[in-house]
Symmetry: C2
Subunit: 186 residues, 2 copies
DNA sequence: GCCGAAGTAGACAGATCGGTCTATTTTTGA
DNA sequence: TCAAAAATAGACCGATCTGTCTACTTCGGC
């Protein structure tokens, strides 16, 4: 797989579970079984590694969600499938996403509050991608009360809220309840 | 105000802006103008200080929100006022809450992922308090489609989603949009 | 077989971490 | 007034942090 990818995978797992500032470079190296100089051959600084980790999580999560949604007819059914997918994630039924510790991008922005920081920007870009995915499906719904933008936004907020509630309060049913609310809106 | 309170206030400001693990004890001491031994007379460890900080933020935020909501008739109007209050917060019109860096409790849980950790538990307790406040107002609404629990939950998720979206994506209109969605549900 | 690239272990640097300790000064209340 | 309590400055501890450096080994392509 290559040392670079080993480092990214190990760092993602540790950063996601414990937070970024709580995990030192040495711990990543030890668990990845890679020498320190090798890391600094591939990445200029720890922050460069963090950027690569965020990019990796972006691909991993987006591709997974897009695939889940495309397994159902575009529109309402795909959007409801999204809540089912999130529910599976919250309840640790999606091994490729690792154990559930909330949203990695929200968590990362908690540690990189400056919106101009490259790491924060990448997290924002991920959320924008997800929103566009929702909007694409919302556009194939005709709804007199709400236009596609507003519907996508509503579903996005419900999803974000459910992820946060599941993590902070340990509510494993958060996505199921969010789905019920969403269904009534469509 | 007392050194203990000085320490809590300074720590809250720094922890909220930069995250908890990114801020050292020495920085808190320097900015608070307090000696190190004084801190360890009042708190056993850094984590004890963190607990006190979370408790402080809980009071500060809850009391502020409850007051804002009670300025309007109980029920629908108070619940809509909640979104206006959050909108003011996001747009830095509430000096007592400090500059907006997302939700302190969500951010803190990102750094304390273990749900059994006292700090995480206090964050969860805060969210439960807020939810009960919402539910109280939701109960004074008669709604055939949705019971009070479900309505409170929907509004809660929209609020959490809006705060996250405002922080991660810098969307200063997030609470306004959430309010519009909420209004249609009531 | 050989050369250069890539990876290894591990010492090292300078800074910072949370936390302890001592010795001195300030504050406070009976 | 005077003693106890509280706060001070700052040295100190061992551990850890990111990042650099050296010297040795492994490995793949020509």
């Amino acid at each position: 797989m290559g040392r670079r990818q080993d480092l990214i995978n190990t760092a993602l797992r540790l950063f996601y579970e414990h937070g970024i500032h709580a995990v030192g470079i040495n711990q990543v190296l030890e668990e990845a079984g890679v020498a320190k100089q090798t890391l600094y051959n591939h990445f200029e600084t720890k922050d460069s590694l963090v950027e690569a980790v965020v990019e990796q999580r972006d691909s991993l999560f987006f591709d997974w969600l897009e695939q889940r949604m495309s397994s159902r007819p575009a529109g309402k059914e795909a959007l409801l499938e999204m809540f089912d997918a999130v529910n599976d994630w919250i309840n640790n039924r999606v091994p490729t996403l690792n154990r559930f510790y909330g949203c990695f991008f929200i968590n990362t922005c908690a540690e990189y509050s400056d919106p101009e920081h490259p790491v924060h920007k990448r997290c924002a870009a991920h959320k924008a991608r997800i929103f566009r995915l929702f909007k694409h499906h919302a556009e194939s719904l005709s709804n007199s009360e709400m236009d596609a933008e507003e519907l996508a936004n509503a579903l996005f907020l419900l999803k974000e809220g459910a992820i946060v509630k599941a993590h902070v309060e340990g509510d494993l049913e958060a996505a199921v309840k969010a789905r019920a609310i969403a269904e009534r809106m469509m």
